[in-house]
């Protein structure tokens, strides 16, 4: 959609370009239909909804301008700089398929724009001012191609999913977890009981929830002490390495370091932070984990405020890319079949971002760019929220082996108790992996495979009787623009 009219081209005459006043963004050098992105450029794909009467090319140029060097008026001080390097360049605009009033805008950024190894700096540019820009009704950062040269300035996950498995001595199957419930109100002593039962019953991990920090009902030190007693007792009872994500999120970074140190002193294999702590804190905690042989679990608390609506915000696939660079080992990436938002193909796209060595463009999965991860460690995705043993075949089919499946209610709410809930999940999981490896068509034969396993496992039968038919069939909000995919359940 190149616009070749007079007002649509960059003004090359320096006098005209820098005389005081207001120019259109595309006249200032933020639009170049002929621009060929360099290998070292970052490329962003924005979905923009211009205000009535605003030309989409001008809107795209404005996005490029406001996310790089532009201000609303011409400034002569640009001429003191190699200003063309600093101007992001919108180079392609296309209407969104079946999205009236919306356009995809491709914008390229020179590598000089971003401080090495700093997601805080990159995000301050790319999603800094531009999302409040008046001529746009809405804007969404859909996807990003990060150049190899910039990827290599990050250390990435402190542990990575391959080394995590080596440390845990768990291979060839998804890991199993559960979030301790109720999420608020348990004393440290009662809380540890849930941890012990879940782990002894067969789970690999238990988990603090996002809003468990250090409230009046349970001081964080109390939680850590009781939880680690439970973890070690369960380890002795099973002979397996066990863990519980100790949430070290606190009011200040100093608090977080203190909590992390205590978790380490008690022998925990994993700590956890919430996404709301912010990019700089995440990168600091990643460094701490790297120094202390610790796995870092990321709970994406708050992401739905900016990832869910299709017309405005930042897609979770972009957040996942930034988090892989920033350095987390676990990342909640959706379930597709559970209680929380997530179209199956779109969710698979997030998983690919976490686990690929090289991510291929895949429009039905919402992946607009090839992304070379140049050997950066891989993030273990976590599927959590309203899933149960009866969905095991779907979960294994959707996500494969490298995932943590977390059944919170589906473990703790088991009619025969927490250990029975854990047994049901573990037996369902192992039976399904075994059947898949034997060449069975688990997607179709899954329910029968579970029934057969339930013959030797009473707790699994009870779980299937309790939850077998529960599904969450709601249309997803955040779907691909290139293929219609209703949320699949049961």
């Amino acid at each position: 959609m190149a616009n070749s009219s007079e007002a649509g081209t960059t003004i090359t005459d320096k006098k005209k370009r820098y005389s005081a006043g207001v120019l259109k963004y595309r006249q200032m050098g933020y639009w170049d239909a002929d621009y060929v992105p360099k290998e070292t450029d970052t490329i962003c794909l924005f979905r923009i909804t211009p205000q009535e009467g605003v030309d989409p090319v001008e809107a795209a140029a404005a996005v490029a301008g406001e996310s790089s060097t532009a201000t609303w008026t011409v400034v002569w001080t640009d001429r003191l700089t190699a200003c063309d390097s600093y101007r992001a360049k919108a180079f392609k605009v296309e209407p969104v398929p079946n999205g009236p009033g919306q356009y995809f805008a491709w914008v390229a950024y020179d590598i000089i724009l971003f401080e090495e190894g700093s997601i805080a700096n990159m995000t301050a540019s790319l999603i800094g001012n531009v999302f409040s820009f008046k001529p746009l009704k809405a804007a969404r950062l859909e996807d990003i191609r990060i150049p190899v040269a910039y990827v290599k300035t990050f250390k990435g996950p402190p542990t990575g999913l391959v080394v995590e498995r080596e440390r845990l001595d768990k291979f060839g199957r998804p890991l199993l977890g559960a979030t301790t419930k109720p999420k608020l109100g348990l004393s440290g002593r009662n809380y540890g009981r849930v941890i012990y039962e879940g782990l002894k019953g067969g789970l690999d991990f238990m988990k603090d929830d996002e809003n468990i920090n250090s409230q009046p009902f349970m001081h964080w030190r109390d939680r850590f002490l009781y939880v680690m007693d439970a973890v070690n007792k369960a380890t002795a009872a099973t002979g397996e390495v066990k863990g519980s994500y100790l949430n070290i999120t606190g009011a200040t970074v100093e608090d977080m370091y203190e909590r992390a140190e205590f978790a380490k002193d008690l022998g925990s294999v994993i700590v956890m932070v919430d996404l709301v702590v912010g990019w700089s804190t995440i990168q600091s905690m990643a460094n701490w984990c790297r120094r202390n042989d610790m796995i870092l679990h990321m709970h994406r608390a708050g992401h739905g405020t900016y990832t869910r609506q299709k017309n405005h915000g930042v897609s979770f696939r972009v957040i996942a890319k930034w988090l892989r660079l920033a350095g987390v080992d676990h990342l909640h990436a959706g379930t597709a079949v559970g209680k929380l938002e997530g179209d199956p193909l779109t969710v698979q796209g997030y998983y690919n971002v976490c686990r690929d060595s090289y991510t291929k463009q895949d429009l039905p999965r919402g992946l607009f760019f090839d992304q070379d991860w140049c050997d950066l460690k891989k993030v273990m995705p976590v599927a959590s929220g309203g899933i149960h043993a009866g969905q095991m075949h779907q979960l294994l089919d959707l996500f494969g082996d490298d995932v943590v499946l977390q059944f919170g209610g589906g473990t703790i709410g088991h009619p025969a108790g927490i250990q029975a809930g854990a047994v049901a999940n573990r037996v369902a999981l192992e039976s399904m992996v075994k059947a898949r490896n034997e060449g069975k068509d688990i997607l179709n034969e899954g329910p029968q495979i579970l029934k057969n396993a339930a013959k030797f496992c009473g707790p699994l039968q009870q779980a299937l009787d309790t939850w077998g038919d529960i599904s969450f069939n709601y249309a997803s909000t955040d779907t691909s623009d290139y293929a219609a995919t209703p949320a699949a359940s049961n």
């Binding site: 391959v162 080394v163 498995r165 080596e166 001595d169 768990k170 291979f171 060839g172 199957r173 002894k200 019953g201 067969g202 002490l225 680690m228 007693d229 070690n232 007792k233 380890t235 002795a236 009872a237 099973t238 002979g239 397996e240 390495v241 002193d265 008690l266 022998g267 060595s357 050997d375 891989k378 250990q419 029975a420 854990a422 047994v423 573990r426 037996v427 192992e430 039976s431 992996v433 075994k434 490896n437 034997e438 060449g439 030797f456 707790p459």
Partner: protein, 146 residues
Amino acid sequence: MMTNPTGRLTQGQFGFLPDLTDAEISMQIAYGLARGYAWSVEYTDDPHPRNTYWEMFGMPMFDLKDAAGVLMELQNCRKTFPNHYIRLQAFDSTRGVESIAMSFIVNRPAVEPGFTLVRQETVGRTMRYTIHGYSTDQPEGERYKR
């Protein structure tokens, strides 16, 4: 006797399932071979969760493409160490993985004594934990005599 719901050591990817038959083991081996993994047989009488290095019953079978051959090695190992833990492990040499892709136990001692948790009280309410295997009080090779 271990007190977890299975009553036994739950390491390995099929720790909660009934013992796999040799026919079922062969199918798992074939699955790994089809994906290009190299199988290895390992045994131990110290299954501590952090005892990473079980003894190798020969080297990983990099060039073996036939499930029957792997099963034969397993049977040799069972004959030699009938009362040890034996596991099959599959190695994946793909760039970016280069680690173990599958691992499951295929032989166990008749009685699995398990572990005790040793607590050492230290400052404040902090504990130091040691997982101690009952069997390791006996010398190597003499741990699972009936």
